[in-house]
C-alpha cells in the first residue's frame, strides 16, 4: 500500500538554512547538508528545499548545496524558489535533485510546465501553489485565489482552475500552500486541500499550518492529501518524525516505519 509521505521543508538563503532550528544532538543548525542528513536518518520520506536567496547571481551557491545534499541522502528531494526557466531546472536536476518546484514563473509563463515536462518528464515538475481564501466571484469562482509575495499580491487566477490547468500542461505533482494557514500551526486548510485533491489526479502535497500530528492525520484523511509538508513542528524539536509517524499509524494511516 502506498504510504503517506512526511516531508520536512527547509528554507535556504545564501546557502544556509534560515530558521532558528534547535536540535538536541550536534547538528550544525545552519548547514542544509547536515540538516538533510539529520532528517534522512530521522525517517523523513522526502525533503523540500526552498531557495529564498534574493540575488540571482548567488544561485550557484544553491546548486552546490544541492550537489552536496544529493551525496548525503538516499531519499528523493525537490528544490524550489527562483526557478525561472528550463536552464534553472536543468541545473538543479543535474546537481542531483529529483524534482523542481515552479510557482510564480509558471503563472507568468504556463508553457514552462509543458516544456519542463517534455524535457525532464512530468515526475520532475512540481507545481507550487500559494493560495488565499477570498470571496467567491466571477473571476475566482472557487473562492480561492493564487497569490505571490507571501500573499501580498493577488494574481487574479482561480486556484482550482490553475491546478487543473497545470495538470493538463504536464505537472506531475502539486505542492499546495495555504497562505492563511501558513505559520499559524493551527492546522492545514482542509477545505482547500480536499477541493484541489478531488479535482486533479496527480498527487497533492499539503502545506501550511502543521502544528500537531493530528493536523497531519486530518489533512491526509479528510483533506485527501497524499503527502504533508512540515516545518516548525520538527525544526523546533516539538515533535520527532518518529512520533508523528507512530501517531499516524495508530490512526490507521499507512506510513513508512522502517528506514
Amino acid at each position: 500500500m502506498l504510504s503517506k509521505r512526511i516531508i520536512p521543508c527547509l528554507d535556504v538563503r545564501d546557502g544556509r538554512t534560515t530558521k532558528g532550528i534547535k536540535f538536541k544532538n550536534n547538528v550544525d543548525i545552519g548547514d542544509p547538508v547536515a540538516m538533510a542528513r539529520h532528517y534522512y536518518e530521522a525517517g523523513a520520506d522526502e525533503l523540500v528545499f526552498y531557495d529564498i536567496t534574493a540575488s540571482s547571481d548567488r544561485r550557484d551557491i544553491m546548486i552546490e548545496v544541492v550537489r552536496q545534499v544529493a551525496a548525503a541522502i538516499l531519499i528523493p528531494f525537490s528544490v524550489g524558489g527562483g526557478i525561472r526557466n528550463l536552464q534553472d531546472m536543468r541545473a538543479v536536476l543535474l546537481a542531483g535533485a529529483e524534482k523542481v518546484s515552479v510557482n510564480t514563473a509558471a503563472m507568468l509563463e504556463p508553457n514552462l510546465i509543458a516544456a519542463g515536462a517534455r524535457d525532464f518528464g512530468s515526475q520532475c515538475i512540481v507545481l507550487g501553489m500559494d493560495v488565499k481564501k477570498v470571496a467567491s466571484s466571477e473571476a475566482i469562482p472557487s473562492g480561492y485565489e493564487m497569490v505571490i509575495h507571501g500573499g501580498r499580491t493577488p494574481m487574479g487566477i482561480d486556484a482550482l482552475w490553475w491546478a487543473q490547468e497545470a495538470e493538463r500542461l504536464g505537472a506531475g505533482e502539486i505542492c499546495l500552500n495555504s497562505i492563511d494557514a501558513d505559520g499559524t500551526q493551527a492546522g492545514y486548510e482542509l477545505t482547500l486541500t480536499r477541493m484541489i485533491s478531488a479535482a486533479v489526479s496527480i498527487p497533492v502535497i499539503a502545506s501550511g499550518g502543521a502544528g500537531t500530528p493530528e493536523h497531519l492525520a486530518e489533512v491526509l484523511t479528510t483533506g485527501r492529501a497524499d503527502a504533508a509538508l512540515i516545518a516548525s513542528m520538527v525544526h523546533y524539536g516539538t515533535y520527532s518524525i518518529q512520533e508523528i509517524k507512530d501517531y499516524l499509524q495508530q490512526r490507521g494511516i499507512p506510513v513508512r516505519l522502517l528506514w
Binding site: L74, P76, A95, G96, F120, E173, P203, D226, Q242, L258
Partner: protein, 234 residues
C-alpha cells in the same frame, strides 16, 4: 567495476552515490566500450521511452548490451526505464520498440479508482512473488520509492519472471528477473536502507560468492550505523 550507462537522460549521480554508500566502485559512462571492462551493468533512467531508446541506439549501447548481457552473460540491473527497456515495445507517446528481452509491453497505469493517482509517486511495499537473490535479507514486504506513470505488462507466458509486485489500484510490476537480467520499477538508489541492501545483493550476483563475505561486513556496518539511532517497531 560496475558500469552505469549514461545516455543523456539526466542525473545519474544518485545511482553512483548509492553504490559509493555501499563501498562499491561504479563508473558512469556514455562510451559503450567501457561495458567490456565492467563486471556488471546498471541502466538507470527516468524520461521518455522513445527518446531514450533512440539515444541508446545512437550511442551503440543496444548492440553492446546485447553482446555483453545476452552474449557474455554479464549481470544487468535496469532501474525504472531500465526495466521497461527489456520489453518488446512501449506504448508511451506512440509505440516504440524496446530491447525485446522479455515478451511484454510497457503500458500506462490505469487504476479504475481515481483515488489512486498517476504518476504513482511515493513509498510502496512490494510483495515478493518469486524468489530472487536481490531480495535476500530484506524484510518480507520491503518498501521502495516509486515514481512512474507506465509499467511493464508481461505476456502470460512470462509470468514466472515476475519477482515482485505492488498494488496501486491495480497490480503493478515492481521487479522482474530472467536469469542474470534484473529489472526494478522502483528506485533502490532513493530507497534508503532496503534500497542499499538490494544494490548490495546485486553486487553479490555480479562478483559471486568469494567477494561476498568481505562485502557483507562492510555494508552490514554501514546499515547498522544508520539504523543505530532510532528504534523501529517493525
Amino acid at each position: 567495476m560496475i558500469a552505469i550507462i549514461d545516455y543523456g537522460a539526466g542525473n545519474l549521480s544518485s545511482v553512483a552515490n548509492a553504490f559509493r554508500a555501499i563501498g562499491q566502485q561504479a563508473l558512469i559512462t556514455d562510451n559503450y566500450r567501457d561495458l567490456d571492462k565492467a563486471a556488471g551493468i546498471v541502466l538507470p533512467g527516468v524520461g521518455a521511452f522513445g527518446d531514450s531508446m533512440a539515444m541508446l541506439r545512437r550511442l551503440n549501447f543496444v548492440e553492446a548490451l546485447t553482446d555483453q548481457v545476452i552474449g557474455q552473460g554479464k549481470p544487468y540491473l535496469g532501474i525504472c526505464l531500465g526495466l521497461q527497456f527489456l520489453a518488446r515495445e512501449s506504448h508511451e507517446h506512440g509505440v516504440h520498440p524496446g530491447l525485446g528481452w522479455i515478451e511484454g509491453a510497457v503500458r500506462r497505469l490505469a487504476p479504475a479508482d481515481k483515488r489512486f493517482r498517476v504518476p504513482h509517486i511515493g513509498w510502496n511495499n512490494v510483495e515478493v512473488d518469486n524468489p530472487c537473490p536481490l531480495f535476500a535479507g530484506l524484510s518480507p514486504e520491503p518498501i521502495f520509492y516509486f515514481v512512474h506513470s507506465y509499467h511493464l505488462v508481461m505476456e502470460e507466458t512470462e509470468s514466472s519472471l515476475l519477482t515482485s509486485a505492488c498494488y496501486h489500484g491495480e497490480k503493478v510490476t515492481a521487479s522482474v528477473r530472467r536469469g542474470h537480467i534484473f529489472g526494478v520499477q522502483f528506485h533502490p538508489e532513493k530507497s534508503q536502507r532496503e534500497g542499499l541492501l538490494l544494490l548490495t545483493n546485486f553486487t553479490r550476483v555480479v562478483y559471486g560468492e568469494e567477494r561476498d563475505a568481505q562485502k557483507t561486513s562492510h555494508t552490514g556496518a554501514h546499515t547498522a550505523r544508520r539504523l543505530g539511532g532510532a528504534e523501529h517497531p517493525v
